[in-house]
C-alpha cells in the first residue's frame, strides 16, 4: 500500500479519535462516556502506530501527527465534521466502522508484512468498536432522526474508501451509490479543529518537550 493511503488511514483515526473524545464528560449516558473515551483512545493509538510506521525508527510520530498544515492532512471529510449530537455521532461511527472494516480487511492482505501485521492488530481492537456501533445501530435504526443522519453522511462515508472498495460498502449499508465526497478535499471544520489540536504544541518552539 502506498504511503499516501496509509497516511489517510492514520489521519482518519487521529481526527475521528479527536472528534470522539469531544464526548468525554457529556455523553447521554455515563456508560457511553466511558465507551467513547475508550474508542477514542484506541483510534488515537492506531493513528500513532501508523505514524510510527511511516516515520520509521528515527522519525517522530508526533511531528507527523501535529506539525503539518491543515491542507496537508489526508483524512476523509467524514471524520472532520463537527457532530456533537448523538444521532449524527452514532451514524458516523456506524458508517465509519463498516467502511473501516472493509479497508482493514483489504490491508491485512497487503504485500508489506509490516503493514499487514499492523492491520491485523488494529482489526482486533476494531472488533469491539464494531460491536458497539452495531448495538447502537440496532437501537436507533427506527428513529427518523438517525435515518436522516445516515442519509446525510452517506456521501461522506463513501469517500472514506477508494472507488474499488465502495461496492462492498454499498451492499453492507444498503443505500445506493451516490457521488462521494472525496478524500483530498477538506470541510471548513478541519481548520478550527487543527487550531485547537495544535495550539498548545505551537505555543513553544519546535522540538520542545511536553
Amino acid at each position: 500500500m502506498n504511503e499516501q493511503a496509509l497516511l489517510g488511514l492514520a489521519d482518519d483515526e487521529l481526527v475521528l479519535g479527536w472528534r470522539d473524545s469531544e464526548w468525554t464528560g457529556i455523553a447521554p449516558l455515563l456508560e457511553e462516556d466511558v465507551a467513547f473515551s475508550s474508542i477514542a483512545q484506541n483510534e488515537i493509538g492506531h493513528a500513532r502506530a501508523v505514524y510510527e510506521l511511516l516515520a520509521g525508527p528515527d522519525g517522530n510520530a508526533d511531528a507527523l501527527a501535529f506539525d503539518r498544515n491543515p491542507d496537508e492532512y489526508r483524512c476523509a471529510p467524514l471524520v472532520e465534521l463537527h457532530l456533537l449530537e448523538w444521532a449524527h455521532t452514532i451514524a458516523r461511527r456506524w458508517l465509519y466502522e463498516v467502511a473501516d472494516e472493509i479497508r482493514i480487511t483489504a490491508l491485512m492482505d497487503d504485500s508489506d508484512p509490516a503493514v499487514a501485521g499492523l492491520a491485523a492488530k488494529i482489526d482486533r481492537e476494531e472488533a469491539y468498536h464494531r460491536m458497539h456501533a452495531e448495538m447502537w445501530h440496532e437501537r436507533l435504526r427506527d428513529e427518523p432522526r438517525f435515518q436522516k443522519a445516515v442519509e446525510e453522511l452517506w456521501p461522506y462515508a463513501l469517500g472514506v474508501l477508494p472507488a474499488e472498495l465502495r461496492g462492498a460498502l454499498v451492499s453492507r449499508v444498503g443505500l445506493s451509490e451516490v457521488e462521494a465526497i472525496e478524500r483530498g478535499t477538506h470541510t471548513d471544520e478541519l481548520a478550527p479543529l487543527w487550531e485547537e489540536m495544535t495550539m498548545v504544541r505551537r505555543s513553544a518552539p519546535a522540538g520542545a518537550q511536553w
Partner: protein, 298 residues
C-alpha cells in the same frame, strides 16, 4: 436521644465494624451517608469538565491518550459511586437532575477555570494528590460498599498523580515559558488546594465522625498533603505562593489562613465557572434525553 437500636449501631461502627446495604441503617446515618457519597459522585463527574477541554489541545499523542484515560477513569468513578448512592435509595437520574439544577454540591476545585496546559499538570498532580488523601481515609468508612469501591478509585488516582507529575516535570525542565506556565498555574491553584480539605472542625463536633463515615480530620488531611507535596514542589524549583508556609520543629506545617469565605461561596454554587459548567452539562442532558428514552424503550 438516639433509640437503643441506634445506640447499639453507633457503638458497633465506632469499634470499627462495617455495615452492608442490606443491614438495618438508622435514617440519619443513611441520609448523611447518601449526601456525602452523592457529593463525591458529583465531584468526579464535574471534575471531568475542567480537564475535558484540554484533551482536545493535548500537545502530543501520548499526552492525549493519557489525559483521555484519566478523564475516562473519573467518569468511571462517578458511575461506580452513583451505584452506591442508588443502593441507598436515590436513582442516578435524580442525582444528575439535582446536580444540573444546582441543588447538589460538588468539590470546590471543580468550580475554577483551567487556563493553560500548566493547569492540566497541576490538577492531575496536586488536586488528585489532595483527593487521594481523603479517599484513602475512606477505605475505613463504616459503610462497606463505599469503602470497597474506594480501593479501585485510590489505585487509579495514584496513576493520575504520576501522569500529572510527568506533565509538570516535562514543563519545568523545558523552556522558561513552559516553567512559567506551571508556576502561574500553581499560584492560581494554591488557594483552592488549601481550602480543599475544609476548615478545621473538632472531631467531636462533626457528625461524620460519630457515624464513622469519615475517620480523618480536615486539618489532619491538609497536614498530610503539605508534608507529602511541599517538598516535592520545591524540589522542582517551584515556589509555593504563601510566604508564611513553614514546617515547625514539631513537624506541623504553618500557613496563611485559607480563605474560608471563598470556599463557602464557591461550594454553594457561586464559583467562577459553576454556572457555565452546570449549564453545559444541562444542555447536553436535556438535548439527548431522546437517547435515554430510546434505550429504555428497547
Amino acid at each position: 436521644m438516639p433509640d437503643a437500636r441506634t445506640e447499639e449501631f453507633i457503638a458497633r461502627i465506632q469499634e470499627g465494624a462495617q455495615v452492608e446495604a442490606t443491614d438495618w441503617l438508622p435514617d440519619d446515618y443513611r441520609a448523611k451517608l447518601l449526601k456525602f457519597i452523592e457529593m463525591h459522585g458529583n465531584s468526579e463527574l464535574m471534575g471531568v469538565l475542567p480537564e475535558r477541554e484540554w484533551i482536545l489541545k493535548a500537545p502530543t499523542l501520548q499526552r492525549k491518550l493519557a489525559l483521555t484515560a484519566k478523564v475516562q477513569d473519573e467518569v468511571g468513578h462517578a458511575q461506580l459511586i452513583y451505584r452506591v448512592v442508588e443502593d441507598l435509595g436515590k436513582p442516578r437520574e435524580r442525582c444528575l437532575a439535582d446536580l444540573v439544577d444546582g441543588k447538589a454540591k460538588f468539590h470546590n476545585v471543580f468550580h475554577y477555570p483551567t487556563k493553560t496546559w500548566g493547569d492540566v499538570g497541576v490538577i492531575a498532580w496536586l488536586v488528585d494528590a489532595a483527593a487521594i488523601i481523603s479517599q484513602k481515609a475512606l477505605l475505613k468508612c463504616s459503610y462497606a460498599p463505599y469503602a470497597r469501591i474506594m480501593k479501585k478509585i485510590c489505585w487509579e488516582e495514584s496513576f493520575h498523580i504520576l501522569h500529572g507529575r510527568d506533565v509538570i516535570l516535562a514543563m519545568v525542565t523545558g523552556t522558561p515559558e513552559q516553567f512559567e506556565l506551571v508556576q502561574e498555574a500553581l499560584d492560581r491553584w494554591w488557594g483552592p488546594l488549601m481550602q480543599f480539605h475544609g476548615n478545621p472542625i473538632p472531631r467531636e463536633e462533626d457528625p461524620m465522625f460519630q457515624w464513622r463515615i469519615k475517620s480523618q480530620g480536615n486539618e489532619e488531611a491538609r497536614q498530610q498533603f503539605l508534608d507529602g507535596y511541599v517538598p516535592q514542589i520545591r524540589e522542582l524549583g517551584l515556589t509555593v505562593p504563601d510566604p508564611k508556609l513553614c514546617k515547625r520543629d514539631d513537624g506541623v506545617w504553618e500557613y496563611s489562613e485559607p480563605d474560608w469565605d471563598e470556599l463557602k461561596h464557591v461550594v454553594t454554587g457561586h464559583g467562577p465557572k459553576t454556572e457555565e459548567r452546570l449549564a453545559f452539562r444541562r444542555r447536553f442532558l436535556e438535548r439527548e434525553q431522546w437517547v435515554r428514552d430510546a434505550v429504555l424503550a428497547a
